[in-house]
Assembly symmetry: C2
Homo-oligomer: 223 residues x 2
């Protein structure tokens, strides 16, 4: 037996501890706030020591993302497949809203753990719907959910970096859009006023329902 992971140092530095600390820093200071120096300071150690437990920054970010995603997905059961898919989507939307740094991580984490977890949850519900092209449907739902949630998170992150709250941020964009040349950008300039009061979360669910409804209809048509 070579593998005896018993107590090592006095104050053991563990991968889990590193990931948790990273999440705290990311939540508090945003994506740019997580540096190996800051992380080392928080953990009262040096940057080099962290690399013993973590491959590199990407590895750390994906691991952090995975922890949060796992938590976000463990709730909701006993609903219809359609409602469950909405619930999964909302769970991810809210998680990204709370942890905006996850957006860019999820985008660069193709095929890795956090994505797999989401696919698995959606996939099981889609399978329960007896769809023919399972993977196409799951792929579309995954892309929509992650894509929209990430977009929303990016706005939050952007607002945070500029020290504005969400509504101030949307107000600034609205002002910008309202000032556009109405001849060149008739639609965008006309829609500007509706931007601040807009409920992104509600539209997000509406989009999922649209997709799920269309899928359901496809199944019904075939039968």
């Amino acid at each position: 037996m070579k593998k005896t992971p018993r107590a090592r140092q006095r104050n053991a530095l563990s991968r889990e501890q590193i990931i948790q600390t990273a999440i705290t820093i990311l939540d508090d200071l945003g994506e740019a706030g997580l540096t190996f120096q800051a992380l080392a300071r928080s953990l009262a150690t040096g940057a080099g020591a962290i690399y013993w437990h973590v491959e590199n920054k990407d590895d750390l970010l994906i691991a952090a993302c995975d922890v949060v995603i796992e938590r976000a997905l463990d709730a909701n059961v006993g609903l219809t497949p359609e409602e469950e898919i909405c619930s999964i989507g909302l769970g991810i939307f809210d998680a990204l809203d709370l942890h905006p740094w996850m957006g860019s991580v999820l985008s660069h984490a193709a095929g890795s753990m956090p994505t797999i977890r989401i696919i698995e949850r959606i996939g099981n519900q889609v399978r329960a719907l007896n769809v023919v092209e399972e993977w196409s449907v799951v792929s579309a739902l995954l892309s929509y959910i992650v894509g929209v949630a990430a977009q929303n998170a990016a706005n939050a992150q952007f607002a945070l970096r500029k020290g504005l709250n969400r509504s101030k941020f949307l107000g600034e964009i609205a002002t910008l859009w309202a000032a556009l040349d109405p001849d060149q950008f008739p639609f965008t300039s006309s829609i500007a006023s509706k931007l601040p009061g807009h409920d992104d979360r509600a539209d997000f669910v509406a989009g999922i329902r649209l997709l799920v409804g269309a899928i359901r209809r496809g199944v019904d048509d075939a039968s």
Copy 2:
């Protein structure tokens, strides 16, 4: 009159020239390849000079993105609104596939020019459909199109960075997924084999058609 933008230096350094060179570098070397040093070398100047024409790297990236998006959107006319929306989506999908670096730029460019251009094009078509909740619909389409296209581009970028071509990359992920514990990840492990042969572009259009169809149906139901 203070503003006389006539010929300045012998070999004038212009914003347009900088942006074009940046696009070339981004296409050739990927996102990480664009540094101010590399850009200065290509332009036979110093890094400092570039800052006279460009605010910072984000500004440059957004401007580069805008040029490509503008080109990608200037085609197609004379179709039905539904088909035009599909066509716009495909234009963006293909542009991101050809220029994978645009994915992360578009995600961080909320409310700025490239996004405005897309919204404008989609918005005009949606308006032609006489939808009640215009902005909600446009918002959903925008998110889906940019989200899915960016996700696809991220895969391409990731594959590029690992020196693999697209199918080798998908094959690697498929192997990874196939090796998952079937008890813990029944869906993902079962779907692994279908990953490499999968046509993302076709599914992308299918998703748009699903959304557009649902919107259309909503309009018909109301009338």
